[in-house]
């Protein structure tokens, strides 16, 4: 790997404890290799993810934000991801209005057994963010 493409972008992920965080663990246990850009924040449920966390991250310096929860109908708290789905969809549609590329934010569902799917999600999302390039310049951030 050359120094060039070693340059990482800031990607943050909010994962629900029961499914997606477990899925990421499963991926680890199975040694499914992934790009290293992503940093994971563990939350109990995707329903806990306040759209403002995503906004805060994007404005604050992240180049991409990923939210992942249990598959609909399979939520450990029965309804959490249903609320998440509506709120995050709303946010995804608001972002471009403010001039933020909606592709920088993705929400998806990964179950605790889907290590492979997790690997795919991380790999593809990281690839996409690298294609979009940094949201914030080296010196000044997008919102300064």
């Amino acid at each position: 790997m050359s120094q060039e493409n070693k340059r990482e972008l800031k990607i943050i992920g909010f994962l629900c404890n029961w499914c997606s965080y477990g899925g990421a663990d499963t991926a680890g246990v199975s040694r499914f290799k992934q790009p290293t850009d992503l940093r994971i924040v563990r939350v109990p449920c995707s329903g806990r993810v306040d759209p403002l966390f995503v906004v805060k991250a994007l404005i604050g310096g992240a180049d991409g934000v990923l939210v992942s929860g249990c598959h609909p109908r399979d939520c450990h708290y029965s309804d959490g991801n249903f609320y998440a789905r509506r709120r995050l969809e709303m946010l995804k549609r608001l972002l471009p209005f403010l001039g933020i590329d909606p592709r920088r934010f993705r929400y998806t569902w990964v179950s605790a057994s889907e290590g492979q799917r997790w690997q795919r999600v991380v790999t593809e999302f990281t690839k996409l963010i690298h294609e979009l390039g940094p949201l914030h310049g080296e010196k000044e951030k997008a919102f300064e």
Partner: protein, 654 residues
């Protein structure tokens, strides 16, 4: 704020691809970090002691352990720092193994990532508050769903342990699959002879309340306090009056009802008692076949019933039971033959399934234990068994092994020889899986003592020729085509999950895999627990299992419940939501969105209305926190500030 950071090598698991020393150095630079070190195995006893001593020596008041997944060891280290006198919630873990060292090869990048992740954990732990769990009463009653051998074992163990048990069975009688079997491997002892007494125990145990022919309608509540709604399905027979004399069954004119108990190997009556040892031994009317209920005239059973138990207007009935824990033992189903068109797909009467053959072998079955083939009642001379029908077959979406077919095939082949000394059995198999105690010896006996011919290879086709069935397959050991002229073919059809398994799982809020089997909390260390505390698993609902395994799981689940109920009070998880009444504006949006109805409106003395969380009901999902506009309601240990601290630590860090 004095944070201590402990970075684990985990042997080479972490240190192999992460420069742990460098991580420690970086952490020492962070203001508030009083101590940072690395250790070979932090979870080991010396490793934990290291933490305890460091806490004392450097009087640390917050601890970050960078090691494996918190799903693995969070509890371990919480206890550790508690030993050192810190509140257990002053711990945060940074997952640098599953999420870093195991998924990235680039040492430099891994180390960079680890530094970020630990920094985030530090940022969070600095915002942690001490939490104290309150305790609540446990309702020491247990619900067991499913009256198969696993469920019965669980129910009996709990009841003998002094607990009140509510046992719900979907069908008319308890006993499950085992009640249908003739003999059991590897001892060839009569199945019902060993199960019957257990069934009677269940029926007679004063602590067990049995709901037969009932299903779970709805589950509310949480560990220690569940409210379960049970649907008692209409049997059209008043079981208080029915004596099980069976007169109705003899007289019923509708003779072609599908016999679920015998898997349709022979018809039964519209009103029936499934088998002689049925518990409860009560009659039930099948509304799809009853002439009175379909055509409106007949009423024979009503006329001849000595106790006037028949009630054609009976309706389903809902009852609510309150329990403190739930054991799920709903068992399995079998793949339909229509999935095997190459084997006739149900067109040939003499191609039957293993469980159907069990019924033929069974003395209380439709043939009274005489082996007669369905088509013409002839005694078969050649019987062919085909293993793995559907199992281990990706094309049918079943990659897994059905676990016990190899064994029951061997058993049935042996029994065939016992019943018909002149018969010859063949077994087409992929591999023989006989890992249990005395199992492999058993399959060998089938071959060596009973002369069962085992042919390693798949069967490609079955077609009728005269009154015989030609079984065409490959013998992969000899590398030739094999053709057997059979009188009877028995398919070991795949074990699948119950069709309604997913629906029940959603009611119980437990997770299930792609095949509909319920997922245990840890494949090795927590095999009967689920991720929903208070709900346990037993038997084949978790995956294909034979009788011994199911029974031991039944007992295991029971022991889990008993130890859970050994305390009168349970500690509630303090990671629940808390409303700051000074901030709450009483818009009650949280009340609207809480999936558990855990938030109530409360009026303060000054007349202000604010939200209030019922701690024992709150499950800790945090939907309320992301709903509350003014941040008045905060999910403890996952507060906005804790999460924001993590976010900032990463995004603002260079």
């Amino acid at each position: 704020m004095r944070v201590g950071v402990f970075i684990c090598h985990c042997g080479n698991n972490i240190a192999g691809t992460v420069d742990v020393q460098k991580v420690a150095e970086e952490m020492r630079k962070i203001p508030g970090v009083a101590y940072a070190t690395t250790y070979m195995y932090t979870c080991s006893e010396p490793g934990q002691n290291e933490i305890i001593e460091a806490i004392k020596k450097y009087n640390l008041n917050r601890v970050v352990v960078a090691a494996c997944s918190p799903r693995m060891h969070e509890l371990t280290f919480r206890k550790t720092i508690e030993k050192a006198g810190l509140n257990r919630y002053f711990l945060e873990m940074a997952n640098i193994r599953e999420h870093i060292s195991w998924v990235g090869d680039d040492r430099e990048l891994n180390t960079k990532k680890a530094i970020d992740v630990v920094r985030m954990a530090i940022a969070k732990v600095m915002n942690n508050k001490p939490l104290y769990s309150s305790s609540f009463r446990v309702n020491k009653r247990v619900l067991v769903i499913g009256g198969g051998v696993a469920g019965m074992q669980a129910a009996l163990d709990c009841a003998d342990g002094g607990l009140e048990v509510v046992l719900v069975e979907k069908t008319q009688s308890i006993g499950g699959m085992m009640a249908r079997l003739d003999k059991t491997f590897p001892t060839i002892d009569c199945s019902i002879c060993i199960l019957g007494p257990k069934m009677v125990d269940v029926a007679q145990h004063e602590k067990i309340k049995l709901y037969a022919y009932s299903e779970i309608e709805d589950v509310k509540g949480y560990i220690g306090n569940y409210q379960v709604t049970i649907r008692k399905k209409a049997t059209y027979v008043d079981w208080k009056k029915c004596t099980g004399c069976g007169l109705c069954m003899e007289k019923c004119p509708s003779k072609n009802a599908y016999d679920y108990f015998n898997f349709g190997i022979a018809p039964t009556r519209a009103i029936s008692i499934p088998f002689p040892q049925a518990i409860p031994k009560k009659a039930k009317i099948d509304p799809n076949y009853c002439r009175y209920l379909t055509k409106g005239k007949c009423g024979v059973c009503a006329k001849i019933c000595p106790t006037k138990a028949i009630d054609y207007d009976m309706k389903d009935e809902l009852v609510v039971e309150e329990v403190g824990a739930i054991i799920v033992a709903t068992g399995y189903s079998l793949m339909g033959v229509e999935n095997f068109p190459e084997y006739g797909g149900g067109r040939y009467a003499d191609v039957i399934t293993g469980i159907q053959y069990e019924r033929i072998l069974n003395a209380s079955g439709p043939t009274a234990g005489h082996i007669k083939r369905p088509s013409d009642g002839k005694e078969p001379e050649t019987v062919v068994f085909i293993a793995c029908c559907g199992s281990r077959d990706k094309s049918l979406g079943i990659p897994y092994c059905s676990n016990f077919c190899c064994m029951y095939i061997a058993k049935q082949a042996i029994l065939t020889k016992d019943h018909l000394p002149n018969s010859q059995s063949y077994v087409f198999y992929m591999d023989i899986r006989a890992p249990g105690k005395g199992y492999d010896e058993f399959t060998r006996r089938a071959q060596e003592e009973y002369g069962v011919k085992y042919i390693r290879g798949r069967v490609s086709k079955i077609y009728p020729k005269g009154d015989k069935l030609i079984v065409k397959g490959a013998d992969t050991l000899l590398g030739v085509q094999a053709e057997v002229e059979a009188d009877l073919v028995v398919l070991a059809n795949a074990v699948i999950s119950n069709p309604d398994a997913a629906k029940l799982a959603e009611k119980l809020r437990i997770s299930y895999d792609t095949f509909g089997f319920y997922v245990e909390s840890h494949p090795k260390l927590r095999p009967v627990e689920t991720n929903t505390s208070g709900v346990f698993l037993a038997g084949a609902c978790q995956g294909p299992k034979d009788i011994p395994a199911s029974v031991s799981q039944g007992s295991a689940a029971a022991s889990k419940v008993l130890s859970l109920f050994s305390k009168d009070m349970l500690e509630s998880d303090p990671q629940v939501s808390y409303v700051n009444p000074n901030i709450c504006v009483g818009c009650m949006k949280c009340v609207k969105t809480c999936p558990f109805g855990a938030i109530k409106e409360e009026e303060l003395r000054d007349g202000r209305k604010v939200a209030k969380v019922i701690e024992t009901v709150c499950a800790g999902c945090g939907i309320c926190t992301s709903t509350c506009p003014c941040g008045a309601i905060q999910l403890q240990h996952f507060t906005d500030n804790q999460i924001l601290a993590e976010v900032n630590a990463f995004v603002s860090g260079k």
